[in-house]
């Protein structure tokens, strides 16, 4: 199986779907001539031409709303946000229009749009560019949201997202774009709403999504080598729909859970997962559920402190040891 980057996996997934379905069109800032602000769409303009790969002006409310309108007539736009932090200027379109028109029309409309881009901190760009709005999106019925953490998942999820008939918001991480991993050449799809056990273990469940999955895997190695604790790492992958079964089964096996995310703690994804675990697996818990999120302040610029603000392996180890 060839090893490719997360970036290329996304590109390959989009390429497959552009070839398969002529209604798929990629629209975003710098996606065409500039080859993508993060080179995710590199080469697509040359391959598919300007009708399919469209440079948009810096006008998120306009072009994302336009994509939503086009999707109501059956176009399948894949909209790139240079950062998910920029979603807020298009929030009315993304939350009010994309999520609600199906409902308000009594099911007459569906909105097969994908909105994707990086949603992560840790890159020294300050508070305005470091938002992680997956919890906000997930709390909006009508929307789906996924956050792949590996190249394999990135390709499988972007393809499924494009084929989905509801709006799917795909969160990525600039920190993961250069990561490599094995990705099969033959076609595969990963259903939304399916978590993945990234490391099997027996003693504690580290449950995470996005870049935090990597930190959990590092933490699991430290726990194994230094503390003889065999941690299981559950990658949520899809936040809505949520694979409750995989998460619950893991906790029932290990009886301990640490929830890790770059979201802020208040009303973060972990809050929902923690509620779900205590409700469905209360009798299986041998210790309180632990949560680690970003430290509850706007993303700080100062690089050494920014590193501390986001959950890293050593902090995860510490939290795990508190309940093991």
């Amino acid at each position: 199986m060839p090893e490719i980057t997360y970036r290329q996996a996304l590109r390959d997934g989009m390429t497959d779907e552009l070839e398969r379905d002529e209604n798929v069109v990629i629209i975003g800032e710098e996606v065409a001539q500039f080859n993508g602000a993060y080179k995710v769409t590199e080469g697509l303009l040359a391959k598919f031409g300007p009708k399919r790969i469209v440079d948009a002006p810096i006008s998120e409310a306009g072009f994302i709303g336009m994509g939503i309108g086009a999707s109501m007539l059956g176009i399948r736009p894949v909209m790139e946000l240079m950062f998910w932090s920029f979603a807020y200027v298009a929030w009315d379109q993304m939350i009010n229009n994309a999520a609600n028109v199906r409902y308000m029309s009594g099911g007459q409309i569906n909105v097969p749009i994908v909105i994707r881009g990086p949603a992560n901190g840790g890159t020294g760009v300050g508070a305005t560019h470091s938002h992680t709005p997956e919890n906000l999106v997930a709390s909006t019925p009508g929307l789906k949201v996924v956050f792949p953490s590996t190249p394999y998942d990135a390709k499988g999820l972007i393809k499924t997202a494009i084929r989905d008939n509801d709006p799917v918001y795909v969160m990525e991480s600039t920190i993961l774009y250069n990561d490599t991993g094995a990705v099969p050449e033959e076609e595969y799809l990963i259903p939304l709403g399916k978590a993945d056990i990234k490391r099997e273990g027996t003693d504690i469940s580290l449950i995470a999504h996005g870049p935090s999955v990597k930190e959990c895997l590092k933490a699991a190695e430290i726990l194994a080598e230094e503390h003889e604790i065999n941690a299981e790492v559950v990658d949520i992958r899809s936040i809505r729909p949520l694979d409750e079964e995989t998460i619950i089964n893991s906790v029932k096996k290990t009886n301990r859970a640490v929830l890790v995310e770059e979201n802020k703690p208040f009303c973060g994804v972990g809050a929902q997962v923690a509620y779900m675990i205590q409700y469905q697996a209360f009798d299986y818990l041998d210790a309180p559920i632990q949560r680690i999120s970003a430290i509850d302040a706007p993303a700080i610029y100062s690089p050494p402190l920014e590193k501390k603000q986001l959950p890293k392996a050593d902090a995860i180890v510490k939290k795990a040891l508190e309940i093991c």
Partner: protein
């Protein structure tokens, strides 16, 4: 720095009095049959009587929330829809009853929607502000001021992408023209040559704030802002359905044939408040102003008078049409009243396409979180 010599705070300019007999001879109207012309009257009076009836239903406490009435503006929806062709699409804001009825939605489904009944056009899930009839290429009914304008551009984008010679008619009020989404839509429409016509229904007040207090604009009015986007624009007089048809035909042909956007501003007036709950509407305008529009500029009455004066319709026949509209409105109120509310299970339906079409699922996992 250049400065403008003229003041930027301008009052809304009243257009010249309409001359329906003259405007009936414009290119888009001269081939209309008497039957067509009577049909426009029928459509307009049906909207008016439906809305008057809905106001009574509202006052009886059977309609929740808002009720934004269109009374006074009927010529715009009817005139515009009358020049739509088979590949044209339409979208509007929350003052949407007129557009819904004009595209052919029934009074029954519209009245039932107001009352939140299962027989409503959106199964009681949308309400007054959110009418939809996609089979009639009517894409809403949108509640957020200006929020529908990018969607309108998107309908046009889809037509262009698919190589279909059609046009998207996107309505907005004068209160929407300061929203960023509208300006972004204008830029995209011009930049990408989208076949969209933005129709500003200028009734003079964004809720309770007069145009003078809300919007600076060039001499030509609100539509003239389109100059900045190299986009064609026009001002039309809402008193005259014929002028509306002529102006819209021109703009829509430009969209269909040349894939160029336009902005059309139509001078109009609403007699009721912004919404029914806005009972103090006389605070921001005078009684005399409302009376002047009712008496001298009403698009439905002026049109009826034109039909009678030109021998197309007798006064008796006009009354008959009017009475039929009242009866239909009464019956729709009865239909809505007798219709059931949606079943409680309906709350969780029509949220996700996939949940409604379980045979075609691509997702696993849990979508709803109710405990």
């Amino acid at each position: 720095m250049t400065t403008t010599a003229t003041p930027t705070k301008r009052r809304r300019k009243k257009p010249e009095k309409a001359n329906l007999a003259k405007e009936a001879e414009l290119a888009s109207n001269r081939d209309l049959s008497d039957e067509d012309k009577i049909g426009f009257y029928d459509s307009m009076i049906r909207i008016r009587r439906f809305e008057e009836r809905s106001l009574r239903v509202y006052q009886q406490g059977k309609i929740a929330g808002f009720l934004h009435l269109y009374i006074g503006q009927e010529s715009i929806a009817v005139g515009s829809v009358s020049v739509m062709q088979e590949n044209d699409h339409i979208i509007t804001a929350y003052r949407d009853h007129g557009h819904g009825l004009a595209v052919g939605m029934t009074m029954n489904e519209c009245m039932a929607e107001l009352q939140g009944k299962a027989t409503g056009c959106s199964k009681g899930k949308g309400g007054s502000m959110h009418y939809f009839a996609t089979d009639k290429r009517f894409w809403g009914g949108h509640g957020i001021v200006g929020g529908q304008t990018p969607l309108g551009a998107g309908l046009a984008y889809a037509l262009k992408y698919k190589g279909i010679k059609g046009c998207a008619l996107c309505f907005l009020g004068d209160g929407a023209i300061n929203q960023g989404a509208y300006h972004e839509s204008l830029n995209l429409a011009a930049l990408w040559d989208l076949p969209v016509v933005f129709v500003i229904e200028n009734n003079g007040y964004s809720m309770g704030t007069s145009q003078e207090r809300s919007s600076v604009h060039p001499k030509g009015g609100l539509a003239a802002r389109a100059e900045a986007y190299n986009t064609n624009w026009a001002n039309l007089n809402g008193e005259s359905i014929f002028e509306i048809r002529e102006g819209l035909t021109e703009a829509m042909n430009l969209a269909r044939e040349k894939s160029k956007p336009s902005v059309v501003e139509i001078h109009t007036y609403r007699y009721q408040g912004h919404s029914v709950s806005d009972a103090q509407h006389k605070k921001y305008r005078t009684k005399e102003e409302i009376e002047d529009y009712r008496k001298n500029h009403d698009p439905v009455n002026l049109y009826r008078d034109y039909l009678i004066d030109s021998g197309i319709l007798t006064a008796e026949k006009a009354k008959e049409i009017d009475n039929a509209a009242k009866t239909e409105a009464d019956q729709s109120a009865k239909f809505a009243e007798e219709s059931p509310f949606p079943a409680e299970e309906e709350i969780l339906k029509d949220v996700y396409w996939e949940e409604d079409n379980p045979d075609q699922k691509v997702s696993e996992g849990r979508i709803f979180f109710n405990d």
